[in-house]
């Protein structure tokens, strides 16, 4: 990336991406994507499987190389990592592994995991401190996801990245995770960018949606961006879920 003068958007936006392309060898996974997520927004990257959603998020987080310009809070990720939280898509660990929730949370930097901070974040994600003594492997899918979010917000991040936060958990767990996302955004002003393919959730929860299928096909508020045309273009088939949801609104 060549150094250049920062634009107003780049400085004021929580996340700013300009002409971002990502290649795996010769294969172009994400192509010339530009967008800005403002501070305090909840945004979602929507797209079918293999559309480059997770890859784009990993590039924003500096986990994989990319072409173009990406800034978080006006700076490169490595300069603001202390103000960023991340919950990965796959947290596959051996469920028999003997580690408690408290021990897991205390793996963070020493200054971030005082007794009071650990208790506070557990309450923030809607769990009781009793869960701290439970084994990580004994939690339900929804509880585990909330513990992962608790781990990601120990440093009180300004920007939180969630990769498929509600995938693979039941409806109750899903609702609980959505409540946590809303709470963090409303009470703490946390900017949230998540990867999702849940159109119903996106249409009710997020301020901005980025439709990605290698290229950015639409962007904006869900009401404006998620049209029948854009969804058909994005998923390649007639998408009835969103229509169904709109009827209920």
């Amino acid at each position: 990336m060549s150094p250049r003068s920062k634009t107003t958007n780049e400085n004021s936006s929580a996340i700013f991406a300009e002409n971002v392309s990502i290649l795996y060898g010769e294969h172009r996974v994400v192509e010339d994507v530009s967008f800005a997520i403002e501070q305090g927004e909840i945004a979602a990257i929507l797209g079918p499987n293999g559309s480059g959603k997770t890859t784009l998020m990993k590039a924003i987080l500096g986990l994989i190389p990319y072409r173009g310009e990406i800034t978080i809070l006006g700076q490169h990720f490595h300069d603001v990592r202390n103000r960023v939280g991340y919950v990965p898509q796959r947290f596959t660990f051996d469920r028999d592994f003997p580690i408690t929730v408290e021990e897991f949370l205390r793996l963070a930097k020493r200054e971030q995991c005082s007794n009071s901070r650990v208790t506070t974040v557990i309450k923030e994600v809607g769990l009781t401190p009793l869960v701290l003594s439970k084994r990580l492997g004994n939690l339900s899918g929804g509880q585990l996801q909330r513990v992962l979010i608790a781990q990601a917000i120990l440093n009180d991040p300004a920007v939180l990245f969630l990769d498929e936060p509600a995938t693979g958990i039941d409806v109750v767990g899903e609702t609980a995770v959505h409540d946590v996302i809303e709470h963090l955004n409303k009470e703490h002003g946390t900017t949230i960018l998540m990867v999702s393919h849940d159109i119903n959730m996106i249409s009710t929860l997020v301020d901005k949606v980025l439709c990605l299928n290698k290229k950015l096909l639409c962007a904006g508020s869900p009401k404006k961006a998620l049209t029948q045309k854009s969804l058909s273009e994005l998923f390649g088939v007639h998408h009835s879920l969103y229509e169904h949801h709109q009827h209920h609104e």
Binding site: N82, Y86, P88, F91, T100, E103, L107, A152
Partner: protein, 269 residues
């Protein structure tokens, strides 16, 4: 001969001290071996060290330092290949350890006569721990244990989720490389006592028992260390008392403890 009389021999004292140090070291590393599912790594490195031992015997120098350097290089090469080649780590280890062992076998062809050093490395011998070996074991173990103590949080975090650890600013590649190097050195240090063929058991059995008994991570470490030390002490005692190979005695003791732990867990579950 009564046990107390046996303990008066310097070589027995050296073996017990080295065994206790190695028990602590291998139990701590073994926790990460099970967490990262890399049990094959220790086995592979131990077998690969045969080439280092053969080179040393051929050159007429002390085998242990050469084996340590050789294993270190193999560990670094595995780490490098993991990044460069689209093959699973197990496949890479399998290729490198068999190649290295084959090289060892070829080199031994040029070493005439019976090689007592080689036999003790293959199956372990309590007679083989010299003062130099003890100091080498103590020094390298202290360095690895210090690193484990300092990097405990980072290493555990990245073992659970490399991506989250990288985002949190943990140097994942550096810690992984240091873990590989530590494992390679610890395995080769223990080869003299347990033998190439059996050494990886001490990386696997104590943490496996610790895992059966523990409720949390602190207990997991504690139980693994206690079990490793008991395994080594009882194994060495049986080896001395009944004139058995030390490596086999230690491994069979560990296996018996594993069976007892499994029965205990089933009864209390």
């Amino acid at each position: 001969m009564p046990l107390l009389d046996l303990l008066s021999f310097p070589f027995i004292q050296r073996t017990i001290i080295a065994g206790l140090i190695l028990g602590l070291l291998l139990a701590c590393l073994g926790v990460y071996v099970t967490l990262k599912k890399m049990a094959f790594f220790g086995d592979g490195i131990a077998h690969a060290s045969l080439a280092g031992i053969a080179i040393a015997i051929l050159a007429g120098v002390t085998p242990m330092p050469v084996a340590l350097v050789w294993s270190l290089l193999v560990a670094i090469f595995i780490f490098y290949l993991e990044k460069k080649v689209k093959l699973s780590t197990d496949s890479l280890i399998g290729i490198l350890f068999t190649a290295s062992m084959a090289l060892g076998v070829v080199l031994m062809r040029f070493t005439p006569g019976y090689q007592p050093d080689l036999v003790s490395y293959l199956f372990g011998s309590i007679l083989s721990i010299q003062t130099f070996d003890l100091w080498l074991t103590a020094g390298i173990s202290a360095a690895i244990l210090l690193w484990l103590f300092i990097s405990f949080r980072s290493l555990t975090f990245l073992s659970l989720s490399e991506e989250s650890a990288a985002v949190a600013g943990i140097k994942v590649s550096l810690h992984t490389l240091l873990l590989y190097i530590s494992l390679a050195l610890a395995t080769v240090l223990a080869v003299k006592m347990l033998g190439i063929v059996l050494v990886s058991a001490l990386l696997i059995i104590p943490p496996a028992i610790g895992r059966i008994l523990a409720h949390n991570f602190k207990q997991y470490f504690t139980f693994s260390i206690i079990v490793a030390e008991i395994t080594i002490l009882v194994g060495l005692f049986l080896s001395l008392q009944f004139d058995l190979p030390s490596g086999a005695s230690i491994v069979l003791t560990g296996t018996a403890l594993f069976c007892l732990a499994t029965i205990f867990k089933r009864r209390t579950a």
